[in-house]
Amino acid sequence: MTINSQNAATLREARSTVAEFERVSGLTTEEMLSCAEGDERLSKIDPFDLMDWHYALDQITALSNVLDIMEAAASIEAKQRSCAFRYPRTNKRELTNTTEGELLLVA
């Protein structure tokens, strides 16, 4: 999965849902996650809103993970480019067409 404009919009919407939920419930996401089953603080929350919150949180987690992976991949790619600059790959076809003297020069 790549982050496209639809995913970015989904991520924005999910973050907005979580923020709105925190505002209305008066509980932070951390507090919500730490609530044990049957916690009285949960009884004031509409169960429909609770589902939206879970859905939004899962979207944020998944899409944020993808962003992390993409950042890591971009970093690796940058390093590879940097390595390629210092140690250019040998073109096999060129190598097979070179004379022994030229090969020695390359070496």
């Binding site: 999965m1 995913n7 989904t10 609530c35 089953e37 049957g38 916690d39 949960l42 009884s43 509409d46 169960p47 429909f48 609770l50 589902m51 939206d52 879970h54 859905y55 899962d58 979207q59 998944a62 899409l63």
Partner: protein
């Protein structure tokens, strides 16, 4: 369950339902937002009857663990039938108070439970009969409400349950 199978089943069963002409419907139906045909997905659908009552069904499916990550399993649901008192900004009925609720069957952070007869958060252990809260299906609930509305049978008779003495008012 795969999303495409779930959606096909949902749409087929929804199309087969029969309602009075003045019944209105709200909600997204079922949708997945992140990847086409993949979990997580949400279903949210409301039926608003002309007599001021509503049925709202909402359920949330999450991805199963590897290697079944493309399959969803139901982790939360809320099925409600009661009097419409307030609606949200999308026109969806909000959860009715216990006084206005005929029946609510939920699985959330309280675990599977029933809200019935003016009592809330009745766990499975306080119920006698055939009703298994966690196993109630979305269209089973909608059909039960329709039976209740048309025949006047109580939800206890339709779902074959009774509350244990401790859970009664």
């Amino acid at each position: 369950m795969l999303f495409k199978d779930y959606k096909a089943n949902f749409e087929a069963k929804r199309a087969a339902l029969k309602f009075q002409a003045d019944t209105t419907f709200r909600g997204i139906g079922c949708e997945t937002k992140m990847r086409p045909d993949m979990p997580p997905w949400m279903t949210d659908w409301a039926i608003l009857y002309s007599d001021g009552m509503y049925t709202r069904v909402k359920e949330y499916y999450r991805s199963k663990l590897h290697p079944f990550y493309d399959q969803g399993e139901r982790v939360q649901f809320g099925f409600q039938y009661g009097a419409t008192t307030t609606v949200d900004d999308k026109g969806m009925p909000r959860t009715a108070s216990d006084r206005d609720t005929i029946i609510r069957i939920d699985r959330d952070k309280f675990g599977p439970h029933l809200n019935y007869g003016g009592r809330n958060h009745i766990p499975q252990k306080d119920i006698e009969g055939k009703l298994v809260i966690n196993d109630v299906e979305l269209f089973e609930f909608i059909e039960a409400v329709e039976t209740h509305r048309q025949s006047g049978c109580s939800m206890e008779d339709i779902f074959f349950f009774s509350l244990k003495k401790a859970a009664r008012r």
